[in-house]
């Protein structure tokens, strides 16, 4: 059966200061529809690179392997085509866009995606109603829609803004790259609830995190441990608790 997301033998490298550095070394990962999977792993193991490669950032060169997403060759698509196909990446460090109004940005993005999906575009009034409601649900200050995208936002506000974008773009597959890092407990719950509201038999998520805390609110189906550019171990939710208590060292030495 064709999976929802199927990553096979994915190798990718980056050209850093004229030196090619291999970061992904044969990633294999299947995510069925309707499931939340978690990737944990030490710093530098390639978790963020995997998320960027899936979203289509061209700094990374895929040297071999494939990614099938709902029957399509994901790696052949432009970043905007991936977004239209239902993929969403919540950035670890959301990018600031000085001079770009947040509401205009959100409306442009929603309408670009709606156009590509063959849906009718939202007019200004309908959009604002939708955006205000979503912002309220995420306990965001109303003026965040009026400000420039992520400019002068606190760390927590930036992460909420990512979840707001995710809520409005209605992806079928969301990647959350350390969206919980630097958040207090309340913000953590807001982020988790944002994901939980999207949960459906047709929605899957890949959550990159270091902490068990997020997983208390966001009950995952599978945990994967990544090290040195590969998935070295997969298991049920109990694996995250074990890592939280014992650290990665034990798993790394077992895999070596």
């Amino acid at each position: 059966m064709s999976q929802f997301l199927e990553i096979s033998g994915l190798n990718a490298r980056i050209d850093a200061d004229g030196q090619e550095k291999q970061i992904l070394r044969g990633v294999d990962l299947s995510i069925p529809p309707g499931e939340v999977h978690v990737i944990m792993g030490p710093n530098g193991s390639g978790k963020s690179t995997l998320s960027y490669v899936l979203a289509g950032r061209d700094d990374y060169e895929v040297t071999s392997g494939s990614v099938q997403f709902q029957g399509q060759d994901l790696l052949a698509m432009e970043p905007e085509e991936r977004a239209a196909a239902g993929l969403f990446l919540a950035f670890q460090s959301p990018v600031e866009l000085p001079g770009v109004n947040n509401a205009n940005f959100l409306r442009t993005a929603i309408n670009a995606v709606r156009r590509a999906r063959g849906q009718e575009e939202l007019d200004a009034v309908a959009f604002l109603k939708l955006a205000r409601e979503a912002a309220k649900t995420l306990s965001m200050a109303p003026d965040m829609l009026k400000r420039n995208v992520n400019v002068g936002f606190s760390g927590g506000e930036k992460k909420r803004n990512e979840v707001l974008q995710m809520t409005l773009l209605q992806p079928t597959f969301a990647i959350l790259d350390e969206t919980d890092s630097g958040l207090d407990v309340d913000a953590l719950r807001v982020v988790a609830e944002g994901v939980n509201r999207l949960r459906a038999p047709t929605f899957s998520a890949l959550v990159i995190t270091h902490h068990q805390k997020l997983l208390d609110y966001l009950v995952p189906d599978r945990i994967h441990v990544m090290a040195k550019g590969r998935i070295i171990l997969s298991g049920g939710p109990e694996l995250a608790r074990q890592i939280d208590q014992e650290g990665y060292a034990k798993f790394l030495s077992e895999a070596a």
Binding site: R82, V100, V113
Partner: protein, 424 residues
């Protein structure tokens, strides 16, 4: 004997400069024959060549013009920002007042150079050869006066250039704007047209004490046209000259401002945006002279350059010895969209006073890959994402235009230019 090598392209005007009468004009011709028109060996024209004027002699424009084409240019400008349609306007076609297209203002006195020629004092003919050329050849222009304490409101000065196939011509309008003390005016100068011509306006401005002039200039000249404008502004005590220039269309554009802060607590703003592509050259040159204490000057210029376009920024701030407590700021920034685009930036500070605050800076960069990817990852197609980031780069600078209609017109023209660039 005029030689192109020594006198630049002055030979294009030889026949028109013969037999000129009147003291000011004769003085200007003499100055031209001494100095010629500038070549790139002249420091102030090091980055901008007048080669774009071509090889053919430039005659005076024909007496008749294509009325339908002129109307179309007017309608096109008004359709880009329809709030301007309700404002009074002075329309010139190929340098001559076109009463049938104009709507005269009420709170402002307007006379025409063709009826009562006045050359003014600020633009001494031998200061700049292009001003001397204007003095020698000027036929018409608007002379706008606002009386003391009067708010003249907003006024559009539209100069339409209509190139004629097989005919090479130039026009040299001579405008003057005089604000008496505590007067106000918002002047929106739109220089629009089609085809090839040479437009060389000189605008002489006097801002009285406590008066305020907002002066927005849009260079939307014909695709093959050369537009070189010179503005002299003299600002009295507590007066404000707030200027903004937008360079968009034309083969070669230059907007040159000489602003003089002549009495204490005066302020000038010399802001601008250039958005050029293809093989366009656009030049923003300014000389801001602080000749009195406690004055403020502000300058923000942003350039977006695509294709083989070249932008030039020359900004000189001169602080005379008497001008203590001067507060000066100058910033020039460029966004290069193509590897073949170029910016030449020459900021100059010349300071003779010892208690001043003057800062300046310049940056050059490309579009940010991370920002571009962020937008694309949200589903925004690449061309649209680029346009959003370009508009964002210019947003703050355009926000310096106080008059809402003028600001909207500038934004509309930039959006048009962006769309044309993407489809090219």
């Amino acid at each position: 004997m005029i030689s192109p090598d020594r006198n630049g392209p002055l030979n294009l005007f030889t026949s028109r400069l013969e037999g000129i009468t009147g003291a000011e004009r004769q003085q200007a011709v003499a100055a031209l024959q001494r100095a010629g028109l500038p070549t790139r060996r002249v420091e102030a024209w090091k980055y901008t060549a007048l080669r774009a004027l071509g090889q053919s002699s430039l005659s005076a424009p024909a007496a008749l013009y294509d009325a339908k084409a002129a109307r179309a240019v007017l309608d096109d400008v008004l359709s880009a920002q329809d709030s301007l349609a309700s404002l009074p306007r002075l329309v010139f076609v190929n340098g001559r007042h076109a009463p049938e297209l104009s709507v005269l203002p009420k709170a402002v006195t307007v006379t025409f150079f063709a009826d009562t020629p006045r050359f003014g004092t600020a633009a001494a003919p031998d200061r700049d050869p292009l001003v001397a050329l204007n003095t020698a050849l000027a036929e018409d222009g608007a002379q706008i006066q606002v009386e003391a304490g009067v708010d003249g409101g907003a006024l559009v000065l539209l100069s339409i250039g209509l190139g004629v196939q097989g005919s090479a011509f130039s026009f040299h309008p001579r405008h003057a704007v005089i604000l008496a003390s505590d007067a106000r005016l918002e002047l929106i100068c739109v220089q629009a047209g089609q085809g090839a011509y040479f437009h060389n306006p000189v605008t002489d401005i006097s801002v009285g004490s406590g008066a305020a002039l907002e002066h927005v200039t849009l260079q939307l000249e014909g695709a093959e046209a050369v537009g070189l404008g010179t503005v002299y502004a003299d600002v009295a005590s507590e007066g404000v000259y707030d200027s903004f220039a937008l360079g968009v269309d034309g083969l070669l554009l230059r907007h040159e401002v000489h602003a003089r802060l002549g009495a204490s607590r005066a302020a000038v703003h010399v802001n601008g945006v250039q958005r050029l592509g293809g093989s366009q050259v656009g030049d923003m040159t300014s000389v801001i002279t602080h000749a009195a204490p406690d004055c403020i000057s502000r300058q923000t210029v942003r350039n977006v350059l695509d294709g083989h376009a070249r932008g030039v920024f020359q900004g000189k701030v001169l602080v005379e010895q008497i001008a203590q407590k001067t507060d000066g700021y100058q910033m020039n920034q460029a966004l290069l969209l193509s590897p073949d685009a170029e910016i030449d930036a020459k900021p100059e500070l010349e300071i003779y006073a010892d208690d001043v605050r003057c800062s300046h800076g310049a940056t050059v960069g490309a579009l940010d890959d991370e920002q571009l990817f962020y937008l694309r990852s949200r589903g925004v197609p690449e061309a649209q994402a680029r346009q959003i980031l370009i508009e964002a780069f210019l947003d703050e600078t355009l926000g310096l235009i106080s008059h809402a209609g003028a600001q909207a017109l500038c934004r509309a023209m930039l959006t048009r230019k962006g769309a044309a660039g993407e489809s090219a």
